[in-house]
């Protein structure tokens, strides 16, 4: 076999601890996966989750480095600690995956989700809806005489709370982006 040029510093090994203490409690973890933006790469990642029976609570993906041809996939998943470790190891095996970071355990991180809400109603309901939107710092991005489309960003919990409040006020439809997340601090 004739050798290939291996980029300096590149390795597919993961830095996570292989010797964790396992409990049976189901935990929610946010994983940031940096991948080569090749055709089929998303299919590889979600195929892994489907094929091995792991959960996907939320998934976002977009190219983040156009020159370097890299996409960032943010997956919120849940499972016992042993399953979470398996998920990360299995992701690390995919040839197109550059790195897997577990934002839930690797220090503090920020998580945001964007959602659009269509709320219809008149009279008191309409006034209450816009008053609550103001409290939640949601913007009105479209309006008719009997409807609003609100744009809201925040944690998933905040969006869940907003959805609950809008329900009796004429909530028609929600579109959510899923979670985008970054670690806090200066290090990438």
């Amino acid at each position: 076999m004739s050798p290939l040029k291996i980029k300096k510093g590149s390795t597919s090994h993961s830095a996570y601890n292989l010797r964790p203490s396992f409990s049976d409690k189901v935990e929610r973890h946010t994983l940031a996966i940096l991948v080569e933006n090749e055709p089929g790469v998303l299919s590889r990642v979600i195929g892994l989750f489907a094929g091995r029976g792991y959960n996907i609570d939320s998934l976002t993906v977009a190219e983040v480095d156009h020159l370097g041809h890299r996409s960032r996939i943010t997956i919120v998943t849940s499972g016992t600690p042993q399953i979470i470790v398996q998920i990360k190891a299995q992701l690390g095996r995919i040839v197109d995956v550059h790195s897997v970071h577990d934002l839930t355990v690797e220090g503090a991180s920020v998580e945001r989700e964007l959602a659009l809400f269509k709320v219809t109603g008149t009279g008191d309901h309409r006034i209450e809806a816009i008053r609550l939107a103001d409290i939640f710092r949601a913007n009105v991005v479209d309006s008719t005489l009997e409807s609003f489309v609100f744009e809201i960003t925040g944690t998933s919990e905040k969006i869940d709370a907003f959805a609950e409040l809008m329900q009796p006020l004429g909530l028609q439809e929600i579109a959510r982006t899923g979670v985008a997340a970054l670690s806090r601090g200066s290090l990438a």
């Binding site: 076999m1 004739s2 050798p3 290939l4 040029k5 291996i6 980029k7 590149s10 390795t11 597919s12 090994h13 993961s14 292989l18 010797r19 964790p20 396992f22 080569e36 055709p39 089929g40 299919s43 590889r44 195929g47 094929g51 042993q82 470790v85 398996q86 190891a89 299995q90 690390g92 095996r93 995919i94 040839v95 197109d96 550059h98």
Partner: protein, 584 residues
């Protein structure tokens, strides 16, 4: 530096550059340009198989027996779908192969064209990685990267799907050293963990090495280092089905194969050990038996190149991520520099326990009467062939387990068997790949009649290329392992486990132009085997054996290592209980 050539030419050029000497394949519309290039050169030999599944198994056989990457070439659509079983087989057993598939031209992809299928979609879960190349200029890099990905880290199968217009068009050929890759798995183990393992080895009272296919995949150096380590420490060593040969069967510290049909002494030692050193094995369910009763009192170390194998089913105390040869080298150095200490007195006692278990003689059988026992047939085969430069393939089932039990393997890469996927029909095409890699060796496929029939068409390939493979069929006219499970688990209701209307294997051999030998008498067996060995050409050996023989010892599903069924006298009536019945 870059040379212009057609995509089809690039394929052949890349194979030559990667040192490929043989390709197993089957032509079709979507690979005609590549076949045209193959026709016009002499560097690479093409072996025309009779079915694409055979091509992939032959490539696997070649890879397993030579340590090199095997190559198969098939057409689009049915060619690709027929390759899927072989790809999955190679994925489960971590065998490096590169499979090139033709595809309909790029402008027809997605139109349900003739012989179109979503090859990369279908093969994504059964390959380590795959590529669909849509431009001739971008064809050479994945051709080279394919060999790198297939063979590095935990080896596995890769697929490159090449549309026909990409094969016809001209583009720039890139040489391997110009191709960049980021795929570079870690091979060196963490030295702190290795030191921790060395310390555990110094104090262990009942240690055991539990080795697997990873030792063989790591290369000959790994087997050499393992032998050195075993000799220096005096620890007992067992191996999985996949790891047979990494330590010699005649070696002083060998306690035999472990697992569902492993040896009593090996399984008992695994159950009672206080330090288990897993080297390149993966705690497969055929090995562990009941998980909550698996080696309850031991500290466990695990050396594996695949992080996802570590802590997957069994929690380990000392995880070491790295290549077996690299880790063993460091482990030996650390252990030596710390004074080569072991707990000799306790290990002596441990060996006397093991020797007591050995006295059970779990593989004993009596050959009496006029019907050949399969165990006897394999014992004779072992006795008469062990002096030869011998390679053994198997199909899947009882005969496979008996071959593992009664044949001895002195070196790695001598034993080619479908372990993880358990593919009936693997052995016959695999033996062709082995013989291509070792033209002068004695290549025997130990088969059952049912498995062998699954890919019997490859006898034609053996004839065409004068490959003197010996197909040694233990014919019990049953799907033996299925029948055994029905006996143990389903009240002896033998549903569809009979091989009815079997062909006359001697006539079948003759129809192919090969030699057929039939033997049904134990007294004639030795002569018949010698006739098989000495015949210069493919042989189909129909060895009629005891029809209702069970394969023992056996850990019934859902049971622990120390709950083995030992032999014909064992109480098999309630051997498998409700909880175990759902397990395969």
């Amino acid at each position: 530096m870059t040379k212009a050539m057609t995509g089809a030419k690039m394929v052949v050029q890349a194979l030559i550059d990667q040192g490929v000497d043989v390709v197993f394949g089957y032509p079709g519309g979507a690979v005609l340009p590549i076949y045209d290039e193959i026709f016009q050169q002499n560097s690479i030999k093409h072996v025309l198989v009779r079915h694409e599944q055979g091509a992939v198994h032959a490539a696997e056989g070649y890879a397993r027996a030579t340590g090199k990457t095997g190559v198969a070439l098939v057409t689009s659509g049915p060619g690709a779908t027929n390759a899927v079983t072989g790809l999955t087989d190679a994925l489960m057993d971590s065998i490096p192969i590169v499979v090139l598939t033709g595809q309909v031209p790029t402008f027809m992809i997605g139109s349900d064209a003739f012989q179109e299928c979503d090859t990369v979609g279908i093969t994504r879960p059964c390959t380590k990685h795959n590529w669909l190349v849509k431009e001739t200029d971008k064809l050479a890099p994945p051709l080279h990267e394919a060999f790198h990905v297939a063979a590095s880290g935990r080896p596995g199968p890769v697929v490159i799907d090449i549309p026909k217009d990409v094969q016809f068009a001209t583009g720039a050929y890139t040489e391997a050293r110009q191709v960049e890759t980021h795929y570079n798995p870690q091979v060196k183990g963490d030295i702190e963990m290795i030191t921790e393992l060395a310390k555990a080895m110094e104090t262990a009272k009942r240690p055991i090495f539990y080795t697997g296919g990873g030792v063989i995949n790591s290369g000959p150096a790994a087997s050499q280092l393992l032998r050195e380590l075993v000799a220096a420490t005096g620890f007992p060593i067992t191996s999985t089905l996949m790891g047979l040969g990494c330590y010699p069967a005649s070696g002083e510290n060998w306690v035999g194969m472990l697992g569902m049909h492993g040896l009593y002494e090996a399984n008992m030692a695994m159950h009672d050990c206080d330090l288990m050193i897993n080297i390149g094995a993966r705690f497969d369910d055929r090995i562990t038996g009941r998980l909550d009763a698996f080696s309850p009192g031991s500290k466990k170390a695990h050396i594996d190149i695949d992080a996802s194998s570590i802590n997957k089913v069994i929690k380990v105390d000392i995880p070491i991520l790295g290549d077996v040869a690299h880790v063993l080298e460091d482990l030996l150095n650390v252990w030596k520099s710390r004074g080569r200490k072991t707990n000799k007195a306790e290990i002596g006692k441990w060996w006397s326990h093991i020797n007591d278990w050995r006295k059970v003689d779990c593989l004993k059988f009596t050959q009496e009467g006029k019907v050949i026992k399969p165990q006897y047939a394999l014992s004779r085969l072992e006795e008469l062939t062990k002096k030869y430069d011998r390679y053994i393939c198997t199909e899947v089932g009882q005969h496979q387990m008996w071959a593992a039990q009664y044949l001895g393997f002195e070196d790695p890469n001598r034993w080619m068997t479908s372990g993880g996927l358990g593919t009936m029909g693997f052995g016959c095409p695999a033996s062709i790949g082995v013989q291509m890699g070792h033209p002068d060796a004695l290549v025997i496929n130990v088969a059952g009649e049912a498995s062998w029939l699954m890919n019997m068409q490859e006898m034609g390939t053996a004839m065409q290329y004068n490959l003197p493979v010996k197909q040694f069929i233990l014919n019990n006219e049953r799907l033996g392992m299925v029948r055994q499970w029905q006996e143990l688990l389903h009240g002896e209701r033998y549903s569809s486990s009979w091989s009815e209307s079997l062909p006359d294997f001697v006539k079948l051999a003759e129809a192919f132009g090969a030699k057929g030998i039939i033997c049904d008498n134990p007294d004639d067996l030795d002569d018949a085997i010698m006739e098989m060995i000495h015949y210069d050409g493919p042989v189909l050996f129909d060895c009629l054996v005891e029809k209702h023989e069970n394969c023992f010892p056996m850990i019934p599903s859902g049971k622990a290592h120390n709950e083995m069924l030992l032999g014909a006298d064992a109480d098999t009536a309630n051997a498998i209980q409700a909880g175990g019945a759902v397990l395969v």
